[in-house]
Amino acid sequence: MTPFLELKRISKSYPGVLANDAVDLSVEAGEIHALVGENGAGKSTLMRILYGLEHADRGEILLEGSPVHIPNPNTAISLGIGMVHQHFQLIPPLTVAENVALGLEPTHHGFIERAALIERVDQLSRQFGLEVDPTQRVQDLSVGIRQRVEILKLLYREARLLILDEPSAVLTPQEVESLFEVIQRLAAEGRTTVFITHKLREVMAICQRATILRRGRVVDVLHVAETSPAEIARLMVGNDVEPIRRQGESQPAARELHLDSLSALDDRGLPALSDVSLSVFGGEIVGLAGVAGNGQQELLEVLIGLRKLVAGEIWLGETHCTELPGRQRRELGLAIIPEDRKLEGLSDALNIWENLVSTRYYRPPHSHHGYLHIGRIQNDAADLMNQFDVRASGPNIQLGTLSGGNAQKAVIARELASQPRALIAAQPTRGLDVGAARYVHEQLLALRAAGLAILLISADLDELLSLSDRFLTLFEGRIVGELSAAEASRTKLGLLMAGQDLEEAALAGREKEMAIPE
């Protein structure tokens, strides 16, 4: 039988990178096919080529046996190819119906037929059990519902091939479950799915076959039923990976960071943090779990001093620093690895040494009376680069040329250069490959052993579970549920992240029902 989709020897290079190197991919009709690989393995590039957003340098695409040319998304759509992007491609101020139909609205003399549009979207949403109100504005919807809007978009366009690019990255475990149900229903209907992910649990849960990419090349194609997560992981990374684990009990020392009843507003003036209290002691890692958008960004901004508090106090050690500006908080021993290193952590346009000294340049020994001692700063920067394994030919290189992993190492080097007492690490391994992520995890554990107080803000349950001594969960701006390392499990954290009450859930016996395949 002819495969539904075939990609043959697709190659694509960007300046300095070979993103896809003669990649073959074959997907049967009605199959859920996993495309797995680390960040930067070339998964997204391959799918962007298939969707017409990028153009292959070489290679060919066959749909149901016949070669097709896809110069733009419009052609892809008309061929029945639809894609849900990792970053949702929605227009928040528009309604669900408008977003779903965008580009293909029913019109009469150029005027949109609103009633017909809403009717159609409502009908689709019910047919597939998506339960989305077509008249709501997308900006008022949760992330999980927004993703359903993306799927509705594909169904509205009558897509026969669905490309899902890391669809679970922003969802709670429970939302992932219902996403899987939707995908399986679509597959049962005969629609074909390419599922891009680097989470092996998901591959095992719903996919029939997996194509594994490493550094732009296909390393293997496996039947999921005949393989194991360990084998896929080994193929993805290229060697055996041993999961990292925190060793020994923490030896809590003095309280280094204390937040007392913090409340703050978000950019729209709505409450983003309500009554957030927590303490972190020297020598422990406190994991703050939560799906992005539940107040993490605002908490970080409040701690740095970028956002005003409506109420509450911030203490560093014995010093009350609610009213102190960011620079003085840093001088008191606060260090921060921000969530978005490109936006808030580093300046791409500056050199490495300038970035490394950007929190300390204003005082001796780096400067005197406003005059910078460049030689001294550059020497220190070179030392830091050695110490933290930032790979570049020297400190005089523009920071923007570093890879994600090296850039993150630079952030860590700078933050630790001031010998802090408390470190806030927000999504410290987001977008890093396995090797770089492992380095960051090792660093965090080394700092814990050295007596630092660490607050780890993350949505990655694996990361949280392998590093943290205690767990708190942030849901809709509140701290819900505290768990010790012994109590914590994937399921419990998942329920808390979704705003469920653990006791109620246990009573209703839902814990079992909602269990995520481990």
Binding site: L90, G103, E105, I112, L265, R268
Partner: protein
Amino acid sequence: MEALELLTNLLASTLRLATPLLLTAMACLLSYQVGLINIAVEGLMLSGCFIAVVAGAQIGYAWGGVLLACIVGAAMGALFALFVTTLRADLIVTGLAMNFFVLGTTAYLLQILFGVYGSYTPGDLKSLPIWRIPVLSEIPFLGKAFFQHPPLIYVSWLAIPLTAILLYRTRAGLHIRAVGVNEEAARTAGISVTRIRYLALTLGGLLCGLGGAHLAVGELALFRENMTGGRGFIGLAAVYFAAGRPFLAALACLLFGFFEALQFRLQTTVSIPYQFFQMLPYLMVVIMMVLISVRENLRRGRGGI
């Protein structure tokens, strides 16, 4: 009675002075909604002034000038779109350059074509006629304030709901708004971002041409160097003040029109140098923009200033 007379006159001149602002504001609104800052409006408008007078004088009818001003305005809008979308030139620098280009070119053409400096009044060109709306214009006071105006004033009133309908009820409008909020999302939905930007900027150019035509032949029939005098920028400010909402932007234009009308009155009645009053509408712009920013910051929980 005399006070009422004064008020009527003030209202009437507010509406007349607000007209070019309304038209450029609607042009700026389209580019705002499509995600581009169109600072070329000033130049587009000035070219409309020039064409309206020159072409009007050649053809012999002011209406001919208005039509050509619209066509040239639209063409200039499309040219701007070519620079900033297809050729990816910087939006601000290109806009500024177009403004200065039009300013210089019109002054230069005035000299080589007509041998005059500063201003040009073709002897045989009559301004557009006053349209008295039947019945309505007979109403005491209100009739004079609202219904005895040059035709383009009524056109400018129509332009506001038409812009709103275009943006919020039509497919093209939906695409304009979609592109303005998230270009990438619009592209993945299969919308041609470039085509939508051309559409918004070309339509905007047409509206600017119309606004310029009103300035030039709406009431007087003359061209003066730099006769737009920053009105395009005021239209732009009105749109930012209104955060892209058509009716609120129109209201802001009326407010600016009122201040301009007021300063004309005060110039003749008060002994303070008239430049002080000329400054007032622009002072209003600065105050308004600061107020908006303060409100925005308060809303975001980042303190007043």
